[in-house]
C-alpha cells in the first residue's frame, strides 16, 4: 500500500475521532435528506445514518469496536436526553392530566399487544423458545428490554438488536398506519408511536409535532414500566 496513505489510516483506525466524525456526518446527511423529503417517514434519519455508517465500516473494514470507541460519546448522551423528555411532558401536563385514565389504558393495551402479537407470530412461524423470550420485550427502550429478557430467559443481546429494528420499523410505519386509520389526534398518534417504537419513534414524533412528541415520550416511559411489570407475571402464568 501507498506508504503515507497507510500511515494516515493507521492513525485514523486508532483515533476515536473517526467514529465520532463518521457518525455526525452520516446523521447530518440523513437529516438533510429527511428535511428535503419533508419528513417522509421512509427517509427516517436513524435508518439512513445507520446504513451510511455501516457501508463505511464495510468498505474500510473498520471494526465495530474501534468505531464505537468514538461513537460512544454520542451513545452516552441517550441517558441525559431521556431526562430532558421531562420538558415536552411538562409543557403538555394539562393535556396529560385531562386524559390520564385513557392514556394508562391505551398504553397497557399497546404493551400487551406488542409482546403477544410478536410472540404469537414468531411461534406460528416456528421460532424457538429463546427467540420468543428475546422477542417479547422488543417494544421497550433498550435498558429495560435487556433487563426483562434476562429475567425471562431470553438473550439480552438479541433483544437489543430487536429493540432497534422495532424502533426503526415503528417510526417508519407509524405515520403511514395512523394516516390510513384517519387518526388525527396528536395525543393518540404520539402514544401509538411511543408505545410501539420507544425512543426512535419518540424522536420522530418530536420533530413532527410537540404534542405528539410529549405523548410519545410519556408512552415510552410508561410502556417500559408496564412491560417490566406485566411480562414476567404473564410468562409465570403460562409456564
Amino acid at each position: 500500500m501507498n506508504e503515507p496513505l497507510h500511515r494516515v489510516w493507521v492513525y485514523l483506525e486508532a483515533t476515536p475521532l473517526l467514529g465520532l466524525a463518521v457518525t455526525l456526518l452520516a446523521y447530518l446527511a440523513g437529516d438533510a435528506l429527511y428535511r428535503r423529503l419533508r419528513l417522509n417517514p421512509l427517509a427516517n434519519p436513524v435508518l439512513v445514518a445507520v446504513l451510511l455508517v455501516s457501508a463505511f465500516l464495510w468498505i474500510t473494514g473498520l471494526d465495530y469496536r474501534r468505531y464505537f470507541d468514538g461513537a460512544q460519546f454520542i451513545h452516552v448522551m441517550l441517558g441525559p436526553a431521556t431526562v430532558a423528555l421531562a420538558f415536552p411532558l411538562y409543557r403538555n401536563l394539562a393535556a396529560v392530566r385531562r386524559s390520564g385514565i385513557a392514556i394508562a389504558a391505551a398504553i397497557t393495551a399497546g404493551s400487551l399487544t406488542a409482546a403477544a402479537s410478536a410472540v404469537v407470530v414468531a411461534w406460528a412461524m416456528g421460532a424457538g423458545g429463546t427467540t420468543l423470550r428475546s422477542l417479547a420485550p422488543k417494544s421497550v427502550t433498550t435498558p429495560i428490554a435487556m433487563g426483562i429478557a434476562e429475567q425471562i430467559g431470553g438473550n439480552p443481546s438479541l433483544t437489543a438488536v430487536l429493540v432497534i429494528l422495532t424502533g426503526i420499523m415503528g417510526a417508519v410505519m407509524g405515520t403511514i398506519v395512523l394516516d390510513a386509520m384517519g387518526i388525527r389526534d396528536w395525543r393518540a398518534r404520539g402514544l401509538a408511536v411511543g408505545t410501539t417504537a420507544h425512543g426512535i419513534g419518540t424522536a420522530r414524533a418530536l420533530q413532527v409535532n410537540p404534542v405528539a412528541g410529549a405523548f410519545a415520550g410519556l408512552a415510552m416511559g410508561l410502556n417500559g414500566l408496564a412491560t417490566a411489570i406485566l411480562l414476567p407475571v404473564l410468562l409465570a402464568l403460562l409456564d
Binding site: I103, S117, K138, S139, G170, D185
Partner: protein, 129 residues
C-alpha cells in the same frame, strides 16, 4: 449550556443510583426524567417558569434525539448474522407487531379520550402532518 448539561447528567446519575439502590425495574434515566418533571412542577406551583437555559439545552438535545440512536443502530447491522436462525420469523413478527401495537394503542386512546375538536392540543405547533 454547561450547567444545564451537568444537571441532566447528574439527574441521570441520581436516577441510576436510586434504581440500583432500590432494585427498581425502571432505568436510571427514566427516574431522572421523573425527578426533573417534579422539580419543574414544584417551581411552576411557586410561579417560576422553567429556567430558559435549561429548557433550551434540553430541547436542543431532543431536536437531534435520532442522532443518539445511530451508534447502537450500527451495532445491529454487525449483529444481523445472529438473526440467521429465526430471521424470517423474527422480521415478520416485528412488522406485524408494530402495526398491531400502533392500531390498538391509537384505537383505545380514541375510544376513551375523544379528540377535542379544534381543541388547543390539535392546534399547538401544527406541522404538515
Amino acid at each position: 449550556m454547561l450547567p444545564a448539561i451537568t444537571l441532566l447528567i447528574v439527574l441521570q446519575l441520581v436516577g441510576e443510583v436510586i434504581a440500583r439502590g432500590l432494585a427498581l425495574p425502571v432505568p436510571g434515566p427514566v427516574i431522572g426524567l421523573v425527578l426533573l418533571l417534579v422539580g419543574l412542577m414544584v417551581r411552576g406551583a411557586r410561579g417560576h417558569p422553567p429556567p430558559p437555559a435549561l429548557e433550551d439545552t434540553a430541547q436542543g438535545l431532543l431536536r437531534h434525539l435520532s442522532l443518539l440512536f445511530v451508534p447502537a443502530g450500527v451495532g445491529v447491522t454487525t449483529l444481523l448474522a445472529t438473526l440467521r436462525e429465526d430471521g424470517p420469523a423474527i422480521l415478520v413478527a416485528l412488522a406485524v407487531s408494530a402495526v398491531a401495537t400502533i392500531v390498538v394503542t391509537a384505537l383505545v386512546m380514541r375510544a376513551l379520550a375523544p379528540s377535542p375538536d379544534a381543541g388547543e392540543e390539535g392546534r399547538a405547533g401544527d406541522a404538515s402532518r
